[in-house]
């Protein structure tokens, strides 16, 4: 099957090979692709990204609200909340691992240049609609939606399309509606919410295209570009 590749895929795979060569530090690009695992500087980078300022900011905030909660509701409430949080975290882990696996394989498998053209700068209203539909049908929770959004952003998708995609996922995502809106709020309420929200991702995308706030690929976090 591999030798039946179409011509445009060759360019795609050459780009991929260059990427592998860059990250593994080899100039020919012939290695197995796993050389980075032996690179201690890379592991140090990972460690400082994992436990950077953001992490400690969160920890400080978590400790602060837990103290407030203790002062108002007492120790038993703090314990109950902690147990609930831990259960949630344990439940989330398999989903996160799966979502990241899908996202990282998509990153290497998808022809990102072609995808970006579909929702790129010149894509117009059609690009916004494609992005909104994609956001609506994206399965999985925030871990998969945001990982996909990062891929689209790194592939230089239009900023309006990026905003339309994630807004559509947040407001119209089928999975959210089926699992949460319907059981909690009832079918009628969910339908009204869906209908009034339908044009809003496009609107948000149009606003994002026209407001003078700078955003381009160079402003993405290091691990994502």
């Amino acid at each position: 099957m591999a030798d039946q590749q179409k011509p445009q895929d060759t360019q795609h795979s050459r780009q991929r090979a260059n990427e592998i060569a860059t990250i593994s530090g080899t100039s020919g690009g012939a290695g197995s692709g796993f050389e980075f695992l032996g690179n201690s500087a890379w592991w140090l980078d990972i460690l400082s990204a994992a436990f950077g300022r953001g992490f400690f900011g969160f920890m400080a905030f978590a400790i602060l609200v837990s103290i407030v909660c203790y002062l108002i509701y007492g120790m038993a409430a703090v314990q109950a909340v902690l147990i609930e949080d831990m259960t949630l975290l344990v439940n989330m882990m398999p989903r996160l691992v799966l979502a990241l696996s899908v996202a990282s394989l998509l990153w290497v498998v998808l022809p990102r240049d072609r995808m970006a053209r579909l929702v790129g700068k010149e894509s117009g209203l059609r690009g916004l609609i494609i992005a909104a539909v994609a956001g609506t049908i994206t399965p999985g929770g925030p871990s998969s939606a945001y990982a996909l959004l990062a891929i689209l952003a790194a592939a230089k998708a239009d900023r309006g399309a990026l905003v339309a995609y994630i807004t559509a996922w947040a407001l119209l995502g089928f999975q959210r509606i089926l699992i949460w809106d319907m059981p909690f709020m009832g079918a009628e309420f969910s339908m009204v919410r869906f209908v009034v929200s339908m044009p809003l991702p496009i609107l948000a995308g149009l606003i994002a295209r026209h407001i003078p706030i700078r955003f381009d690929t160079s402003q993405l976090p290091k691990g994502v570009r």
């Binding site: 990204a49 978590a62 909660c69 975290l89 290497v108 959004l149 691990g223 994502v224």
Partner: protein, 173 residues
């Protein structure tokens, strides 16, 4: 324990594995590197943010807020619902439980829709756990400014729809 979405993703993963095996280059290294990088940025923050979110939800005065969202609260009610949505930095379990509290206390559907929309777009947990680590501050700012009017528009549209439904019920059958 796992819903339809999980198995849908699992199927997608299997398909991607097959595609990646067929690729002419050793792509699994690149994928693994990206996986580790994103996992490292996400998980420690997620741990702290989840704990913080649980306490914030406990501290939110849901019953008191619901008193401001009833019939006749109008545009002011929508603004309060919008602000309440900003204050729920937790997942759907907590957001929809609070929405149910609002409904039971007599909040208008439009206010509840504004609340859910506002939480969907501005939930601080998602901003801190996913958006800032994966897309950075500039994107988060661009997106939040772009969707700023959206919850209120949703509330106004919902008000209009419930008006139409009420008028139809009064005049029609």
């Amino acid at each position: 324990m796992f819903g339809v979405g999980f198995y849908a993703m699992l199927t997608v993963l299997a398909g991607l594995m097959v595609t990646a095996f067929r690729a002419p280059d050793p792509v699994f290294g690149v994928a693994l590197k990206r996986w580790i990088e994103q996992f490292a940025v996400l998980v420690p923050r997620m741990f702290c943010a989840l704990i913080a979110a649980g306490f914030c939800a406990k501290l939110l005065p849901a019953e008191w807020i619901s008193g401001l969202l009833g019939e006749g609260s109008g545009f002011f009610g929508l603004i309060i619902a919008f602000l309440a949505g900003l204050l729920v930095p937790a997942g759907p379990v907590i957001c929809f439980s609070i929405a149910a509290v609002f409904v039971k206390a007599g909040a208008t559907p439009a206010a509840v829709i504004t609340f859910i929309t506002s939480w969907s777009l501005f939930g601080a947990h998602r901003l801190f756990i996913y958006e800032l680590p994966l897309l950075g501050f500039n994107f988060a700012r661009l997106r939040m400014v772009s969707v700023l009017p959206v919850p209120i528009i949703a509330g106004i549209a919902a008000t209009a729809i419930s008006l139409i439904i009420t008028i139809e019920m009064l005049t029609g059958r």
